[in-house]
Symmetry: C2
Subunit: 346 residues, 2 copies
Amino acid sequence: MKIIVDAMGGDNAPDAIVEGSLKANEAYGVEIALVGKGEQILHVFEALGRHELPAGIEIVNASEVIGIEEDPAHAIRLKKDSSLSVALALLRDGRGDALVSAGSTGALLSGATLIVKRVRGIRRAALAPFIPNTAGGFILIDCGANSECTPEYLLQFAYMGSFYAQDMMQISAPRVGLLNNGVERTKGTPLQLMTYELLEKAALSGALNFVGNVEAKEVMKGACDVLVCDGFTGNIFLKTIEGTASFFMSELKGIFMANAKTKLGALLVRKNLLQLKQRLNPDAIGGTALLGISKPVIKAHGSSNAFAISNAIHQACNVAKSDIAAKLHENISSMKTPEQDAQQVE
Amino acid sequence: MKIIVDAMGGDNAPDAIVEGSLKANEAYGVEIALVGKGEQILHVFEALGRHELPAGIEIVNASEVIGIEEDPAHAIRLKKDSSLSVALALLRDGRGDALVSAGSTGALLSGATLIVKRVRGIRRAALAPFIPNTAGGFILIDCGANSECTPEYLLQFAYMGSFYAQDMMQISAPRVGLLNNGVERTKGTPLQLMTYELLEKAALSGALNFVGNVEAKEVMKGACDVLVCDGFTGNIFLKTIEGTASFFMSELKGIFMANAKTKLGALLVRKNLLQLKQRLNPDAIGGTALLGISKPVIKAHGSSNAFAISNAIHQACNVAKSDIAAKLHENISSMKTPEQDAQQVE
């Protein structure tokens, strides 16, 4: 297994990326192709006390870097020798099994679509993070790749999320829910109403385990394994969880630091609280899969440290093993809107 | 000050509604008109040891009840003698200063619009709850009254929320933010893009303190005093906060109950933790204002207990004092889309 890593993407690049790659190489025995400015990468290895490239790690030189502030599609077209473009070309050419980047999400989306291409028939790639909840966790799809969606996109997201959950969460028939403002089938905007019908039809055919509309509150209690929504709503949903979690952590800190009595209380629950914090730590998961691309692509957080990068590489190995792209390819005929089905029948 | 209360609406009606009304009458000296099945209401007073109607409380008989499962618009048209319909007619006729109902949100929306009417020129009424955050709290508008919105609706929500925050939060120039999936002005769907322009124009004229797009995460840290969005997104946002809060409370309970050591820790922080729980308790706020209606209407939670109803009545008094409808009426000319402005100029 070889993972291609964009060494120059992310707030802490290349230091954290190189260190995280080294960790993953040592921990999981995975081969790594580090793509970026060779001298800078070697310099990081030097600083880590490695005067020679460790076995299983190679450097692929790329002279440019795509900044987080650049227009994604423009940057991908312009900077042919950027670390991201070169890394994506390596993935396309089969010179690695999966790709990890902590750089610009937009550039990764544009680049993966342009260079690696989507699975044939898939309309849009989608970001599918794993989110912890009371029941363990669930897959959210899409969390921000596509602000505007059609019912057909959401149908495809449901399939992609379902295949992903089967492999990554080891669930044979993942419960797919549609994020909505109520559980009744009449709820939502026309997008949700039309998507409901498509998902219901897919459920009747046995292809999906659609459990209906789910409310945001119930998702956190475990109402579904895969939560389907457009990228705008998914982004609001995800960032609201993050914001509320930060709010709670900050309030708890205030409570524990209030006085000598509460400080003692804090000491007594410290270990258990750290376990919760660790469970909610996005770094422990490492990254978010970009599903619908013909080869495995993992987006690591922009603020990733070495620990997060190492976990993202581990996750990339798992996604590469599961071969979701092949499942999508096999099932693409079921992932079309009724209009298209009707045309084929006629 | 007299508040009209729908005695039959809500999961705990009429018991909690009557008891909460009595509490508010005693605590704030507010007069109450309890609307509903007279005998049932008197029976609750009996059970509370009140064999005569307390001074300042009257009963207005209404023979029907609108259930939470009924089609809202249909029920309002059909059940002319429902507690909600009668209560709304009393409000319309000036026989009270504000209305409180814990019944069906949809029926309250339909009924308030049909019977009491919107402020002239206001396109849609919107639900505007107060939500606690690290900085104290903010007003969310709309949280679910309108799943589908136009940029003009959102412009009007911004004004409504701003006037409301001025009066209820005592802020002279409330910071109005547009909920979006990024802070850049190019973010979001066409709805957010077009709304941004309208809000920016309103800010230039000095009418609104528009602080731009805000991300869900930043709102919880205090990025704005008024958060504007369509009702679908607002509903997801609000229920995600509730779900994440429940998740945290449940996890914390697990942590504190883990073993003898953590149980002791729990005892030491108990008081401070209860204060936080109380601050986040929706019952302490009592209800959500339905803004844009020509007279004050407050939606109390369906699960309201007596404490929540008492607080909702107190809140109704404050909204009645602030007279937001008059402010909306005075400023309605600024609350139109550019197309309409242009037509007027020509």
